[in-house]
């Protein structure tokens, strides 16, 4: 539990990458909707973070689920079978950070050109 007024969300959960799907299923059963999937590049810690934001369409309840993966092997299971809306978010996170979402049906660039191989939001990216 965190202070909503200070942070903007109610519940902050850190999970291991393999529990991401379980968390998503749990939240799905409780009627949550997926807000966003956010990637973050913690280059100092040599880690990548994936943040899943959930909101509830009827209650004032915001849940943030985080998971961290090593930068050398950024792989997270996909939740697009639970939330089809995650499909695009994960594609976007993949193209900007190079995080691979295992089991994603179509992990091709969404916003960048189709043949893009660079990951611009990585901190070590140079154009």
């Amino acid at each position: 539990m965190v202070d909503y007024a200070g942070r903007g969300f109610h519940l902050n959960v850190c999970v291991w990458p393999d529990r991401v799907v379980a968390a998503a299923e749990l939240l799905d059963r409780n009627g949550f909707a997926l807000d966003a999937v956010t990637g973050m590049d913690w280059i100092a810690e040599n880690e990548m973070e994936v943040v899943y934001d959930y909101f509830h369409p009827a209650d004032s309840c915001r849940v943030v689920v985080r998971t961290r993966v090593p930068r050398s092997k950024p792989e997270v299971p996909t939740i697009s079978q639970v939330y089809p809306g995650a499909n695009w978010h994960e594609r976007e996170t993949h193209e900007f950070f190079g995080i691979v979402f295992l089991g994603h049906p179509n992990l091709t660039p969404l916003l960048l050109p189709e043949d893009a191989t660079y990951h611009p939001l990585r901190k070590d990216f140079v154009a």
Partner: protein
């Protein structure tokens, strides 16, 4: 061919063809591309291809100061720039623990709601343009010009306002603006009635929109669709009510919902929202307190404490979430913009399978997309 019946997909490849709608196409309102696999006029699969106006807002957030990123937010959704400015400014205020004077909050609400109306007016016109009616567009723009005049007098710009500052707003409003607001409320109410006669009640429009493009509540939830889309499916989800921010708690307004989930419901939601925004403006103008409009306690060089902070607002198209991650430096570590159109468009593929081309474009119009909002 008497009803919009859904013909089962044929597995023979030679009966289908691929139609590229966009990136330059009158119906896509910018540079969206739809890859339609069609069987005659029926759409088998509609795959949106975006990124044609990706402007790297999130990357730009990482290499300019907290204040310098502000102009960018107005360009994500240029039709409702105020709400986006508001979300970013409020997120930074939350992070840096800056208090905002009440008068500034009221001004923010008034300008945001005015901007919401102007955005809905553009949507109204453009949607009708999609449906082949040109005249309502110009009527809507006529009304919109009144709003823009007022906002320009306050902010100095017509579209990309960049009006809010950390801790308030940059200029105070004057009596002319207040009078203008009242006049505008008085002007738009009969105009909305006129739109009702001219457009909403029109049998052609009703036939085109009713029962078209059904989006269920479950679908909205799964895709994270918000704003008029989810309200058009009957869910009273509005960030202004669910997570009240700014001073929205103090106003009496309704969340219009229509349970049908079709294009008409989304249309009616937006039309009704304009009326509700007028109500908010009316109340806000009446209650507008005196006082400063810019907090004095804002440090010259902003360095919010480390951590990540979210702020969500109800923009004209739905829930807009800003997540800022600070590492206590002058520039943000990461700015994440969760835009409503992105999620709203992602359900397009599922919503339009088996539809006819004009219906799919009506659905596209009813989602009210601003393409840079998707691509960022």
């Amino acid at each position: 061919m008497s009803a919009p019946e859904v013909i089962p997909a044929s597995d023979k490849p030679c009966e289908t063809f691929v139609l590229n709608v966009g990136p330059q196409h009158p119906a896509t309102h910018g540079v969206l591309r739809l890859k339609l696999t069609m069987d005659g006029e029926y759409i088998m699969r509609a795959e949106p291809v975006c990124g044609y106006i990706h402007r790297m807002h999130e990357k730009m957030g990482e290499n300019r100061t907290w204040a310098q990123f502000l102009p960018n937010t107005g360009r994500i959704d240029y039709l409702a720039a105020m709400a986006y400015n508001h979300a970013y400014v409020a997120a930074v205020e939350r992070a840096a623990k800056i208090a905002v004077p009440p008068r500034a909050e009221y001004i923010r609400v008034i300008t945001t709601e005015l901007n919401r109306i102007s955005s809905h007016l553009v949507w109204f016109g453009a949607f009708l343009l999609d449906l082949g009616g040109f005249t309502p567009l110009l009527y809507a723009f006529d009304d919109r010009e009144q709003i823009l005049d007022m906002l320009e007098a306050v902010t100095g710009s017509r579209l990309t306002y960049c009006y809010y500052r950390f801790g308030g707003v940059c200029n105070d409003v004057d009596a002319d603006f207040i009078r203008g607001c009242r006049d505008f409320v008085a002007r738009l109410r009969p105009r909305l009635k006129m739109y009702r006669t001219l457009v909403t009640d029109n049998i052609i429009l009703r036939k085109r929109l009713e029962g078209i493009g059904f989006i269920s509540q479950e679908m909205c939830r799964k895709y994270g669709a918000t704003g008029p889309v989810i309200r058009g499916s009957g869910v009273a989800y509005d960030v202004r009510k669910i997570e009240p921010y700014s001073v929205y708690r103090e106003f009496d307004f309704d969340i219009p919902t229509f349970p049908e989930g079709d294009c008409m419901a989304r249309y009616l939601v937006r039309m009704e929202e304009m009326a509700q925004s007028l109500r908010i403006i009316e109340q806000a103008v009446d209650k507008l307190p005196d006082g400063p409009v810019l907090s004095s306690g804002v440090p010259r060089v902003l360095k919010p404490p480390a951590g990540d902070y979210c702020f969500a607002v109800e923009a004209a198209r739905g829930r807009f979430l800003v997540r800022i991650v600070s590492d206590n430096k002058e520039i943000p570590y990461r700015v994440r913009l969760r835009t409503p159109c992105f999620s709203n468009l992602s359900l397009f593929e599922e919503a339009t399978a088996g539809m006819m081309l004009p219906d799919a474009l009506a659905v596209l119009g009813s989602l009210d997309l601003v393409i840079p909002d998707i691509d960022r």
